[in-house]
């Protein structure tokens, strides 16, 4: 504030009238980065393909409207959602697209990375994996989805959970990966690894063209962790 007063009531430096614009711009940057818990602005992003992004947003809205159809406060099964214990805490919605990992003729690994800043300062409320199956021929086909965790003892991966599906036709499938992402958020490099195993005839579930709108993605909801609060008596 260049000698401006420090306002005791609101804990904010009171900009002295006539403060140079650059100083105010620097204050704006610092304020946003601090609130997002970012040490510095992220580098130039690699945006997802437009088709994949639009498809993901449509799926997310469709998922959300399913719950909106029911009276406020009532879930489809009649249960009343628990009130968010962290009412008033800053919430985040994260959309993460898959990175293709190693693959064989009948399996492929997908990686979903989460930033350390978010992982270190938030807790996961829920996380959902969206997968699109392009079934080449009619009939029911077995598919296996494995959630893998990094093995603390070595470079390998350990099986965290396994889900078997019977896929009858092309379409989207969703899978709750909340527990897996929740446990990741306590680790050094939060990266979710998903292994898909399909019938040999299908080939890879990943679209050949990355611009394809059926790229797998994860949607996670998180909220700021509570810091240790000191209550003044």
């Amino acid at each position: 504030t260049a000698g401006g007063e420090w306002c005791p009531a609101c804990g904010l430096a009171t900009p002295v009238p006539g403060t140079p614009r650059d100083a105010l711009l620097a204050l704006a940057k610092q304020s946003i980065l601090a609130k997002l818990r970012l040490p510095a602005r992220p580098g130039a992003p690699q945006p997802p393909a437009r088709g994949a992004l639009l498809a993901a947003l449509r799926r997310m809205r469709a998922q959300r409207s399913d719950t909106a159809v029911f009276p406020p406060g009532m879930l489809p099964n009649g249960a009343v959602p628990h009130l968010n214990p962290g009412m008033g805490r800053q919430e985040y919605e994260i959309l993460s697209f898959a990175e293709a990992g190693s693959s064989t003729s009948h399996s492929v690994r997908l990686h979903f990375r989460f930033s350390q800043e978010l992982a270190g300062s938030t807790e996961i409320l829920q996380a959902t994996l969206y997968l699109f199956w392009a079934v080449p021929s009619p009939g029911t086909q077995p598919v296996t989805i494995r959630i893998l965790q990094p093995d603390p003892a070595g470079p390998n991966m350990t099986l965290s959970s396994e889900t078997r599906l019977e896929v009858q036709r092309s379409g989207w499938t969703t899978l709750d990966v909340g527990p897996a992402v929740r446990s990741l958020f306590g680790q050094e490099t939060p990266r979710l690894t998903v292994e898909l195993e399909m019938p040999e005839a299908w080939g890879s579930p990943l679209p050949a063209d990355p611009n394809d709108s059926h790229w797998p993605f994860v949607v996670a909801q998180a909220q700021a962790r509570t810091h240790h609060r000191v209550h003044r008596r």
């Binding site: 609101c10 105010l24 711009l25 704006a28 946003i32 992220p42 992003p45 697209f97 800043e117």
Partner: protein, 114 residues
């Protein structure tokens, strides 16, 4: 509260808009296009303590007279935000995930004297 004019001296809200293009942040912040970093500035003489800007009611005017007359406690009063709202941000994090969050209390809507 009132918004600062060119020659405002009393406590008021000074508007200040940061265009993310201007600071080169438009590549990682998807929405919005800028941030209203308004702030409070101006004097808070004793008789205006507790006033959100200028008095509007007879009751407040009488109260002011009493306070101005009783200069017993020459205590400074601060021009501070009295109303704020969240800043909704949609941005890319460093893994190019898309993140949406509402940062509470980031935009000052009105100012007043403590």
């Amino acid at each position: 509260g009132i918004d600062c004019g060119r020659d405002s001296r009393m406590c008021c809200r000074q508007e200040f808009f940061v265009d993310f293009k201007e600071i080169g942040w438009e590549d990682w912040i998807i929405q919005p296009e800028g941030y209203h970093m308004n702030y409070c500035t101006g004097l808070c003489p004793l008789h205006m303590a507790g006033i959100p800007g200028l008095a509007a009611s007879f009751h407040t005017a009488v109260l002011n007279r009493i306070k101005a007359a009783s200069a017993a406690a020459a205590v400074d009063s601060c021009c501070v935000p009295t109303q704020r709202r969240p800043l909704s941000l949609l941005y890319y994090d460093r893994d190019s995930n898309i993140v949406k969050t509402d940062i509470p209390d980031m935009i000052v809507d009105s100012c007043g004297c403590t």
